[in-house]
């Protein structure tokens, strides 16, 4: 079972310093928050998608397509009922849908997907260790950075163990195919207890393995994948910074890109 997101590719995004990628992530997140007009939002999303394509991260987007579609559709369907705009399109009792709120919903859908895709780009192009090293070089204490990357590492391990546990329980009669929601909740225990105990045992062994390999939290260590800022990194940061400034000017200088004023 493979649920790791990292893709071994050699593109310019992969070669960036992890710090650049993390700063880039924050800038892109900020850009996503500027506009609530679907056209302008689509411009931002298109840019992010272009980065994803040039990082050759599309297979991962494909794997998460269901989530991406679900996020977009549910947001586009739900928001019109909560946001109110001036141009009435349709109403039924307390339910009112306006042209602006419909467009706002679409923009919000795009925004959520852009968040997810941006995060995916980072995880598809950056190794766990690179993230840790980047965080350390940004001044985060080693134990904190290490805890962060270990928890990322544990997800696929536990998912693999979980799959085996489910198979083991099915083999001795656990029936996951029928029953109402309460009965199904009860069937959660035979899966959760062994997984929980597995996690405890696993982390215990992990701690022993780490100490046996000379790891002690807080002390200095060499970074084998030493992050290094190159010209490309500075160029990317400058470029993204420029985009941030341009967005700022369009949004507040020219007052464009807003479909529903007063909403994020």
């Amino acid at each position: 079972m493979n649920i790791f997101l990292y893709l071994e590719r050699d593109t310019w995004v992969q070669r960036l310093d992890p710090r650049t990628k993390m700063i880039g992530l924050l800038i892109l997140f900020a850009l996503c928050l500027y506009f609530n007009h679907p056209l302008y939002m689509a411009g931002v999303s298109g840019g992010i998608l272009a980065i994803a394509i040039s990082a050759r991260a599309l297979p991962n987007l494909g794997r998460l397509r269901v989530i991406l579609i679900l996020l977009f559709v549910s947001s586009a369907l739900m928001w019109p009922f909560f946001a109110r705009g001036p141009t009435l399109l349709w109403s039924w009792g307390p339910f009112i849908v306006s042209r602006e709120s419909l467009l706002y919903g679409i923009a919000m859908g795009l925004r959520l997907d852009s968040f997810v895709i941006t995060g995916l780009i980072l995880l598809s192009t950056t190794r766990n260790e690179e993230l840790t090293n980047g965080l350390i070089r940004m001044g985060i204490p080693y134990p904190v950075a290490f805890a962060f990357s270990t928890s990322l590492r544990l997800i696929p391990t536990l998912a693999g163990a979980g799959a085996t546990i489910i198979q083991a329980q099915i083999s001795r009669g656990l029936d996951l195919e029928s029953g109402n929601i309460f009965r199904r909740m009860g069937k959660f225990i035979p899966q959760a207890v062994p997984l929980f105990l597995y996690a405890i045992r696993y982390t215990n062994q992990l701690a022993i393995a780490l100490e046996s390999r000379g790891f002690s939290p807080g002390s200095k260590r060499t970074l084998y994948y030493e992050p290094r800022m190159r010209k490309l990194d500075y160029a990317v940061i400058v470029l993204l910074g420029a985009a941030l400034a341009a967005g700022l000017y369009i949004r507040w200088g020219l007052g464009l890109g807003v479909i529903l004023p007063g909403r994020l």
Binding site: Y6, S171, R172, I189, P190, S212, S216
Partner: protein
């Protein structure tokens, strides 16, 4: 090189852990006396300090591999030693080919095979260049080839002048050692050269260690000499004219075997793992009859488990079909199929979750909606079969590995399935527990159950299974009566397997016996 042998719970792992200070720093308790390594008293220093001198490879290799590629895994130790990057780089370049991992430098550890993972766990300790290397049961999960690889590594490390302390359950590991130590109930009971320790039958037995089969045979036949390897034994037999070789006849393969009704039939089965798009099984054709005892053997990753998971529809065929009592497995519900085919997973901890052994064993029956009276009856009969009567109220988590394994078997057995599939039932058990578990399966087989075991222990397959199926790269390489399959050493080698030394001698003699007793009877006749 010292090899430590002992029964389960003899204290071998605790001994290993006290070499680098995991005991008493991590596992606290009453600690008396002291361990010194190169004049350093271990208990007075922190584990990371001692790790510069003593490298410890743990038994379970999964939690030891936490990096995202092979190179980083090997760099982790040296990084902690604060070595400069160039030095780390050169050590990685040195140790990759040393353990045959040079083509896997950028690979994700989880994608490696069992043997490769084990070699990576060892090499990630070796890059720290410790003077003492302690390995806790490094070969339990490995196929014969993987075992051989680890043995070769041990020899090469010894040539480099490093000290090795290896713990194991199998006496074969001790053959090449300088010294063998025996442990029993937390005490070191004997120390000496392998030839002396491994041929002392009463003492080995008292420590719960398997007696090397050839030693047992020679003692049973009252032959002089106590050979440890097949080559030694053959030389002795030839030299002294202890027995005559005869002609072993392979039966004509064109004569179809007849037997009971077919219970599991596999037709042109192919399976593709959806996540990796790797073809795990290819054109498997198989017919298992009621009441057979089948061993599925093959290298790690040859597709044994993938095939077995088709027997109870845990996996669904990509192509072809699996017929259970003449009906495709895909047409059964999980409920129906669990009554016909029971599947015991390798690790009992993947399924144990109840507070008492009774509830654990009754779980399946409750799920299937059996009435309470019959649940009680079936649970107590299942517990009796596995020899755990009187354990009903005990907490399963607190039992030993061998007992937990039995609870897992009982919980599947309680449903009284006709076919019982067991994945590596003897792995991690010591001789006594292995034997009693296999005897229990033998009894179930006698009562009419069809038994299918997946195993990498050639000895277990030879001793208990009537039929052996050898898998290689997702296809069936050999299929037939166990005796005949094990006679074809050249074909087995294609699957990187070789029979145990006893069977090798039996092959050379041209006898049919696969166990010490069978062979002795045949030779006396």
């Amino acid at each position: 090189m010292v090899v430590v042998l002992g029964h389960g719970g003899a204290g071998k792992s605790t001994l290993c852990a006290s070499m680098n200070g995991i005991v008493p720093h991590f596992f606290r308790g009453q600690y008396r006396g002291r361990v010194t390594v190169k004049g350093l008293e271990v208990a007075r220093h922190k584990v990371p300090e001692i790790s510069r001198i003593v490298g410890l490879v743990l038994q379970d290799f999964e939690p030891q591999l936490f990096s995202t590629n092979v190179e980083l895994e090997m760099a982790f130790g040296p990084e902690n030693l604060c070595l400069p990057r160039q030095e780390i780089e050169s050590r990685i370049r040195h140790y990759l080919p040393f353990l045959g991992l040079e083509n896997f430098r950028r690979r994700e550890p989880a994608s490696l095979s069992g043997g490769q993972k084990q070699r990576l766990a060892i090499s990630s300790v070796l890059t720290m260049e410790p003077e003492v290397l302690v390995m806790d049961e490094p070969t339990t999960d490995l196929d014969p080839e993987g075992r051989e690889e680890v043995q070769t590594i041990a020899r090469r490390l010894r040539e480099q002048g490093r000290t090795l302390l290896v713990v194991d359950c199998e006496p074969e590991t001790g053959e090449n050692a300088d010294q063998v130590w025996l442990m029993r109930e937390g005490q070191l009971v004997a120390r000496g050269v392998p030839r002396e320790i491994l041929t002392d039958i009463p003492r080995l037995k008292s420590c719960g260690i398997k007696v090397p089969k050839l030693v047992e045979l020679f003692s049973e036949m009252r032959w002089p000499g106590r050979p440890l390897t097949a080559r030694e034994a053959i030389a002795l037999i030839e030299e002294r004219g202890l027995a005559k070789t005869r002609k072993f006849k392979l039966p004509d393969p064109s004569i179809a075997r007849t037997g009971g009704a077919s219970i599991l039939k596999v037709e042109d089965l192919g399976y593709l793992y959806p996540a990796h798009r790797i073809e795990a099984l290819r054109e498997i054709n198989l017919n298992i009859q009621e009441g057979e005892f089948v061993a599925l053997i093959g290298q790690n990753g040859s597709g044994k488990t993938t095939l077995a998971k088709h027997f109870n529809a845990l996996l669904k065929p990509t192509s072809g079909r699996v017929l259970l009592r003449g009906k495709p497995t895909t047409e059964y519900t999980h409920r129906e199929i669990s009554r016909l085919v029971g599947y015991v997973f390798q690790n009992p901890d993947h399924q144990i979750f109840c507070n008492t052994v009774y509830e654990e064993v009754a779980f399946g029956l409750k799920m299937l909606g059996e009435p309470p009276s019959s649940i009680e009856k079936q649970v107590s009969s299942a517990l009796e079969t596995v020899g755990l009567t009187g354990y009903e109220k005990k907490v399963p988590f607190a039992l030993g590995k061998g007992e937990r394994q039995r609870v897992a078997v009982a919980s599947v057995l309680a449903i009284q399935p006709e076919v019982l599939v067991l994945d590596e039932p003897t792995t991690g058990l010591d001789d006594r527990h292995q034997r009693s578990l296999m005897e229990m399966l033998k009894n179930l087989h006698r009562e009419g159950h069809t038994i299918i075991i997946i195993t990498h222990s050639m000895e277990t397959a030879a001793e208990y299974a009537g039929r052996a199926i050898v898998m290689k790269g997702g296809s069936i390489l050999l299929d037939g009566p166990t005796r005949d399959v094990f006679a074809r050493e050249d074909r087995l080698k294609e699957a990187s397997l070789y029979p145990s030394s006893l069977v090798q001698v039996s092959n050379w003699l041209g006898t049919r016996g696969l166990t010490v007793r069978q062979l002795a009877e045949e030779l006396r006749a």
